[in-house]
C-alpha cells in the first residue's frame, strides 16, 4: 500500500513535521521537497488548531471535566442526555430526560469491566432489577439499567439536587460550643439516616461495597441520599478496590475495611459496609481521616490493617467517649468485633442522641467471651458465636431478673450493690471461660481439625452448668433455662425438657414464686403443647401466668407472652375455643397498650394471632384490618423487617382468597424477599412461603410457574428435615402433583401424590383430610394414565379418609367418587361404577337441599 509513494516520508513523519517535532534536517528537507506532503502538513496544522480548541471545549465548563468523549445525546435508548454532572473512576454521570416520562434523571454511563457474556449480562440484569426494587427516602432510586451498543453499561436514577457529603469544615473549629453541638447533632442525625438506608439495602441482600462521602448526597432539605448501591458488584469490579480499574484508589482505599484490603473475596459481607460507615462517621465528626492515606500504598494498607485510629474526641471539640466507643466499634479491625448490623449502629447513634447509654460501651463482657473464643479459633469460633448469639439474650434477661430481685433484698439488708454486681458478672464470665475451655479437644469434646457442632457445645455446657455454678444457684438456673430454650429452638425437645425440668425443680426450691419459676413453667408449657399434651400445657402455662400477674413489679411483656401461650393452647383444644383464645389475645394486647414498654415485636406477634383467630371465626374484614395494623406497626419500625413477614403472608393469602392474585403475589413476594435477605439461602421458612406463592399461581392456572416454585421449596424441605418440613413437604408434594397432572405429567403427579400420602401416614397424628387429598392426587393421576386397577386402592382410601375427617360431603369427596366411577368404567365394571355415581348423586342432592333450606331461612 505504501509502496506507491515509496519516496514520500511516512505519514507519521509528516504529522510530526507539522507539529514541529522533527529535528533531523535531512528528513525535514525531504518533506519540504514533496509538494503533496506539504499539502498534508498544512492540512494537519489547520486541523490541529481547530481540534485543540475542540478538545479545550471540555476542559473547563460546564462540567469541569478535562477529558473523554462526550456521549451522543441518544446514546442511551429511551433517554436524551443533556449535560455532564460528574465524572468519576467508574463512569460519568449525566443529566438526562427520560423520553417516556419526560422526567429529569441522572444517567450513569460506565465503561466497566464486566464481560459481555450472556451469563454476566443476566447477572447484571438481575442485579439492576434488585437495586431498582429499593424504595427508601435515603436511597437514590434506580429506575433502569442496561448495556449499551458500545459495550458499556448505563444506570438511570433519580436526579437529586444536592451536594456531596463533605467533611466537617475547618470553620467549625471557630464555632462557639452551642452551635458546634448543634452541628454535631445534625450530622449524627444525618448519619443515622444514612445507616437506615444501608440497613434497608442489607435486609434485601444488597451490600453497597463502596460507601464514601462521594456516594452520599445531601439534598436541599438536608436529607442524605445514598447512591450507587451494589454498583461495584454490577460492574464486576470484584471486591478488592483496584487502582487500575477505579482510578480513584486513594478515595476507595480510605474506606476499605481491613479484610477487604488483605483478605480474599469471600470475606466481603455487610460488615465491610459497617466499617466504611465508621470511617464516614469519623470524617463527619472530626474532619479528618482516621489514618494517614496519602503516603505510599504499602504504608496506607498497613495503616488500614494495623493502626488504631486516634479517638475522635481527642481530635475535635464537642465529642465525647461515647462517640469514641461507637466509632471504635464500627471501625474495629476484626469484623467480629464490629457492630454486627447497621441497624445496631444506627440504634446506638440514636441512643446517644437521646442521651441513653450506648451499646458499644457494653462491649466489654461479651468482648471478653469473643476473645476467649478467638483464642480457640479455628474449629470452634463459628459455632461458638452462634451459640453465644442464641443464648446471649436469654442470659442477659435472666441476669436482669437476678439483679432486680437482689435489689429488693439489698434495700433490706443494706448490702453493697456494686460488690454484688461485680460478683455476679465474674461468676458468669468464669462459667463461660470454664465451659469454653472444656471444649478443647484434649477434654474429649472436639477433635482437632473438625468443626464442633452447636449440639456438642450445648451438651457440653449443659452437662457442666450445674456443677460450675454451685455457688450461685440462681445464675445456674438462668443459664440452664437459656440452654433449654436453645435446645427447644433446635427442636431437640428431649434435651430441652430434661434441662427445663431440672431448672424448674431448683428454681422452685429457691423461691416458688420467682420469675425464674415462671420462665421454667412457660417453657415446659410450650414443650407440652408441642407434644400434644394440652392439659399439662394448660397447667404449666396457667402457673406461669399466675406468677407473672402477681409479681410485685409486673413485667408486661412477659405477661403478654404468657397470655399468648394460653391462647395458643385454647386454639389447639378440640373443639376449638376461639372465643377464649381471642379474649386472651385481646387481654395481652390491652396489657401491652396500657404500658409504656416498647415491645412492638410482641405486639405484632399478638396481632398476627388475632388475625388468624378472626379468620377462623369468619370475621374476615376485621381480620384484614388487624393484619394491616400489624404490618403498619412493623413498617413504623423500618422496612423489610422479619416481623412483617407474617402480616404480609396473612394479607397475601387473604388477597388470594378474595380473588386478587396480583396483590397476593406482590405481598407474598415481598415476604419472600425479606426472608431471603434475613435467613441463609435455602431456609425452610422461605420454602413455606414459596409454597404459598405456588398456590396463588395455581389459582391463576399458571401451573408451569407453580411447578417451578414448588420444585424449589421441595428441594429446601428435603435438605432440612424438621418440624416445618414434616408439616409442609407433603403439602408441597400434593400441590406439585396437582400441577403436574394439570400439565399432563401424570406419572410425575402419581409419584408426588404417592410420596405425600406416605409422608402423611408416617406423621404422629395423621391428618385424615390431608391424607385424603394426597391420595386423591395419586388416584387422579393413575386414572389419567389409564392405570385403572391401580387407581382403585388409593381412591377408596381417599374416600374413607375423608369420611374419617367428617368431610364425606365435601366437593373434594364428590370428586373422589367421580374418579372412582371413572376408574371402574375403565375396568368395565359397570356395577361398581354405577354404585359410586349413585352415591355421588345422593350427596349432590343432599347438598342442594340443604343449600335451598339455607337460602329459605
Amino acid at each position: 500500500m505504501d509502496e506507491g509513494h515509496s519516496e514520500r516520508p511516512p505519514i507519521e513523519d509528516i504529522a510530526a513535521y507539522a507539529r514541529g517535532e522533527i529535528a533531523d534536517a535531512e528528513l525535514r528537507a525531504r518533506i519540504e521537497a514533496d509538494e503533496e506532503a506539504m499539502e498534508l502538513v498544512r492540512q494537519i496544522q489547520t486541523d490541529d488548531e481547530f481540534l485543540t480548541q475542540l478538545a479545550g471545549a471540555w476542559s473547563n465548563a460546564p462540567d469541569g471535566s478535562g477529558r473523554g468523549v462526550p456521549p451522543a445525546a441518544d446514546l442511551v435508548p429511551g433517554y436524551r442526555i443533556l449535560g455532564e454532572l460528574h465524572r468519576g473512576g467508574q463512569g460519568t454521570v449525566y443529566r438526562a430526560i427520560q423520553e417516556r416520562t419526560k422526567r429529569t434523571v441522572a444517567v450513569k454511563l460506565m465503561h466497566g469491566g464486566a464481560a459481555a457474556s450472556s451469563k454476566s449480562r443476566a447477572r447484571f440484569e438481575r442485579e439492576v432489577e434488585l437495586i431498582a426494587s429499593m424504595r427508601h427516602p435515603n436511597i437514590v432510586t434506580v429506575f433502569d439499567g442496561g448495556d449499551l451498543p458500545d459495550g458499556g453499561y448505563f444506570v438511570a436514577m433519580e436526579f437529586i439536587r444536592g451536594v456531596p457529603l463533605v467533611r466537617a469544615d475547618a470553620f467549625e473549629r471557630d464555632m462557639d460550643d452551642k452551635s458546634r453541638s448543634e452541628s454535631i447533632r445534625m450530622k449524627l442525625e444525618q448519619f443515622a439516616s444514612i445507616c437506615d438506608a444501608v440497613q434497608y439495602a442489607h435486609l434485601r441482600g444488597i451490600i453497597h461495597r463502596d460507601i464514601k462521602p462521594g456516594n452520599i448526597l445531601i439534598d436541599r432539605d438536608g436529607q442524605p441520599k445514598v447512591l450507587d448501591f451494589g454498583v461495584a458488584k454490577v460492574l464486576g469490579l470484584g471486591d478488592t478496590p483496584d487502582a487500575t480499574l477505579t482510578g480513584e484508589f486513594v478515595g476507595t482505599f480510605a474506606y476499605a475495611a481491613p479484610e477487604q484490603v488483605s483478605g480474599g473475596a469471600d470475606e466481603i459481607d455487610t460488615r465491610c459496609d459497617i466499617y466504611a460507615l465508621g470511617v464516614v462517621l469519623y470524617e463527619m465528626t472530626t474532619g479528618c481521616f482516621p489514618y494517614e492515606i496519602s503516603g505510599p500504598m504499602s504504608q496506607t494498607l498497613k495503616n488500614i490493617t494495623e493502626t488504631e485510629p486516634q479517638p475522635p474526641s481527642r481530635i475535635a471539640d464537642g465529642l465525647d467517649s461515647e462517640i469514641d466507643a461507637i466509632v471504635a466499634s464500627a471501625m474495629a479491625k476484626s469484623p467480629d468485633r464490629r457492630y454486627q448490623s447497621v441497624g445496631s449502629l444506627a440504634a446506638d447513634i440514636r441512643r446517644y442522641l437521646a442521651g441513653e447509654p450506648v451499646e458499644a460501651r457494653r462491649d466489654s463482657s461479651t468482648y471478653l467471651l469473643a476473645k476467649l473464643a478467638k483464642r480457640h479459633r479455628g474449629p470452634i469460633a463459628a459455632g461458638m458465636l452462634l451459640l453465644l448469639g442464641l443464648m446471649g439474650v436469654s442470659i442477659w434477661m435472666s441476669l436482669l431478673y437476678v439483679r432486680a430481685t437482689e435489689a429488693e433484698q439489698r434495700a433490706e439488708t443494706g448490702m453493697l450493690s456494686a460488690q454484688v454486681e461485680a460478683d455476679k458478672a465474674a461468676a458468669v464470665v468464669e462459667l463461660f471461660t470454664d465451659i469454653i475451655e472444656t471444649l478443647r479437644p484434649e477434654h474429649g469434646v472436639g477433635e482437632v481439625g473438625r468443626e464442633l457442632t452447636v449440639r456438642e457445645m450445648l451438651d457440653s455446657a449443659a452437662s457442666r452448668v450445674a456443677t460450675r455454678t454451685a455457688g450461685r444457684a440462681d445464675v445456674g438456673v438462668a443459664i440452664q433455662l437459656a440452654l433449654a430454650r436453645t435446645y427447644y429452638s433446635l427442636e431437640l425437645t428431649q434435651q430441652a425438657l430434661r434441662l427445663a425440668q431440672f431448672a424448674h425443680e431448683v428454681a422452685v426450691k429457691l423461691d416458688p414464686d420467682s420469675t425464674l419459676v415462671a420462665d421454667a413453667e412457660e417453657l415446659l408449657g410450650w414443650l407440652a403443647l408441642g407434644g400434644g399434651e394440652l392439659d399439662q400445657a394448660q397447667e404449666h402455662m396457667a402457673r406461669a401466668l399466675e406468677i407473672r400477674e402477681s409479681a410485685e413489679v409486673v413485667d408486661v411483656v412477659k405477661l403478654a407472652k404468657a397470655l399468648k401461650g394460653m391462647a395458643s393452647i385454647a386454639r389447639r383444644r378440640s373443639p376449638v375455643d376461639l372465643d377464649q383464645a381471642l379474649e386472651l389475645v385481646e387481654r395481652a394486647l390491652a396489657v401491652l397498650a396500657a404500658s409504656d414498654r416498647d415491645a412492638w415485636e410482641v405486639q405484632v406477634d399478638l396481632l398476627n394471632q388475632k388475625t388468624v383467630l378472626l379468620n377462623s371465626q369468619g370475621r374476615l374484614d376485621l381480620a384484614d384490618q388487624i393484619a394491616q395494623m400489624a404490618l403498619d406497626v412493623c413498617e413504623e419500625q423500618g422496612t423489610g423487617l422479619i416481623e412483617s413477614v407474617t402480616p404480609l403472608q396473612n394479607l397475601g393469602m387473604r388477597a388470594k382468597a378474595k380473588g386478587n392474585p396480583v396483590e397476593a403475589i406482590a405481598k407474598i413476594n415481598e415476604a419472600i424477599s425479606i426472608l431471603e435477605s434475613v435467613y441463609p439461602e435455602g431456609h425452610s421458612r422461605t420454602a413455606s412461603m414459596l409454597r404459598r406463592l405456588a398456590l396463588i399461581h395455581q389459582d391463576q392456572d399458571n401451573h408451569a410457574k407453580a411447578e417451578q416454585v414448588l420444585d424449589q421449596s421441595i428441594e429446601i424441605f428435603r435438605a432440612n428435615p424438621g418440624q416445618k418440613s414434616r408439616e409442609d413437604l407433603p403439602r408441597c408434594l400434593m400441590a406439585l402433583g396437582r400441577s403436574q397432572v394439570e400439565l399432563g405429567d401424570y406419572a410425575g403427579g402419581r409419584d408426588s401424590g404417592r410420596e405425600a400420602a406416605q409422608l402423611l401416614r408416617q406423621a404422629a397424628n395423621p391428618n385424615y383430610w390431608r391424607l385424603g387429598l394426597a391420595l386423591q392426587v395419586e388416584g387422579a393421576a393413575l386414572v389419567s394414565l389409564g392405570q385403572y386397577a391401580e387407581a382403585i386402592t388409593p381412591l377408596k382410601d381417599c374416600y374413607s379418609q375423608m369420611v374419617k375427617a367428617d368431610r364425606s360431603e365435601s366437593v373434594e369427596a364428590l370428586e373422589c367418587m367421580n374418579l372412582l366411577a371413572s376408574a371402574y368404567d375403565g375396568l368395565s365394571m359397570a356395577e361398581e361404577a354405577k354404585t359410586w355415581r349413585t352415591r355421588r348423586q345422593v350427596v349432590i342432592d343432599r347438598r342442594e337441599a340443604s343449600r335451598q333450606a339455607g337460602s329459605k331461612r
Binding site: 500500500m1 505504501d2 511516512p10 505519514i11 507519521e12 509528516i14 504529522a15 498534508l40 492540512q43 494537519i44 489547520t46 486541523d47 481547530f50 481540534l51 480548541q53 475542540l54 478538545a55 479545550g56 471545549a57 471540555w58 473547563n60 465548563a61 460546564p62 469541569g64 477529558r67 473523554g68 468523549v69 462526550p70 451522543a72 445525546a73 441518544d74 436524551r80 443533556l82 449535560g83 454532572l85 460528574h86 430526560i97 423520553e99 419526560k102 451498543p149 458500545d150 439536587r161 444536592g162 451536594v163 469544615d169 475547618a170 470553620f171
Partner: protein
C-alpha cells in the same frame, strides 16, 4: 417531539426560538432554548467561582426567571442583546446564592465568589463559553448524524478524544495511518461547518 426538538436545535435561530417561547405549552421550544443556553450559563457561573451544583442551580433559576420576564414582556429583542439580559439575571442569582451561603456558613470563604466581574469582562467570558458550547454541540450533532459504527468516526474519536496513538488505532480498525489522517481532516472540516452554522443560529445573541 424528538425530531422537532432536534430540528429546532439544528436550524432555528434564537430569535425564532424566542418567538416560540411565548407559548407556555410548547415544551419543545423551551427544551431547545434550554439546551442552547443552559450549558453556557452554567459554564459562566463556574467561571465566577461557583462549584458544581451551585452553578447548576444558578443556571436553572436564571433560565426560569428569564422566561418569566420574557413572557411578561420585560425583554425586547431589539433593545439589547440577549446575553446582556441573561448575564444580568445570572449575576443577581450568583449574588443571592453567595449571600445565603454566607448566612448559613456552608461554604468556607475561599471557594465562594470573591468578586463579580464588570460587564465587558462578562461579555468576554460569555463569548468564550459560547464558543466552547458550540463546539460541544457540533460534536453532538456529528455523532447524531453519523453512524458510530463507521470506522472513520471511530478512528477520529479515538485519536482526538481518547488521545490514542494513530498507529494503534489504525491497527485496531484495519486502516492505514494515512487513511486516519485523511478522515480526520474530512471530519474536522465537517465539524467546522456544523459549528459555523450553529454560530449563526445564536446570531451574536
Amino acid at each position: 417531539m424528538d425530531d422537532r426538538y432536534r430540528e429546532l436545535l439544528r436550524t432555528t435561530t434564537t430569535t425564532s426560538l424566542l418567538e416560540g417561547l411565548f407559548d407556555p405549552d410548547d415544551e419543545v421550544v423551551w427544551q431547545a432554548f434550554d439546551s442552547r443556553y443552559r450549558p453556557i450559563i452554567t459554564a459562566v457561573a463556574r467561571r465566577l467561582g461557583l462549584t458544581g451544583s451551585d452553578a447548576d442551580d444558578v443556571a436553572q433559576e436564571t433560565l426560569i426567571q428569564f422566561v418569566r420576564d420574557y413572557r411578561a414582556g420585560r425583554y425586547k429583542r431589539e433593545r439589547g442583546r440577549l446575553r446582556g439580559w441573561i448575564v444580568g439575571i445570572a449575576r443577581h442569582r450568583v449574588i443571592d446564592m453567595q449571600r445565603s451561603r454566607g448566612r448559613r456558613k456552608e461554604v468556607p470563604a475561599a471557594t465562594s465568589v470573591e468578586r463579580i466581574p464588570q460587564d465587558n469582562e462578562m461579555e468576554k467570558i460569555w463569548s468564550e463559553e459560547l464558543d466552547r458550547s458550540i463546539l460541544r454541540q457540533a460534536v453532538e450533532e456529528l455523532r447524531r448524524t453519523t453512524k458510530t459504527s463507521e470506522n472513520s468516526i471511530k478512528a477520529f474519536e479515538q485519536v482526538v478524544f481518547d488521545r490514542r496513538p494513530v498507529n494503534a488505532v489504525a491497527e485496531d480498525l484495519g486502516m492505514t495511518a494515512h487513511d486516519i489522517y485523511v478522515s480526520r481532516s474530512r471530519i474536522t472540516t465537517r465539524l467546522r461547518e456544523i459549528a459555523e452554522r450553529l454560530r449563526n443560529l445564536y446570531e451574536a445573541d
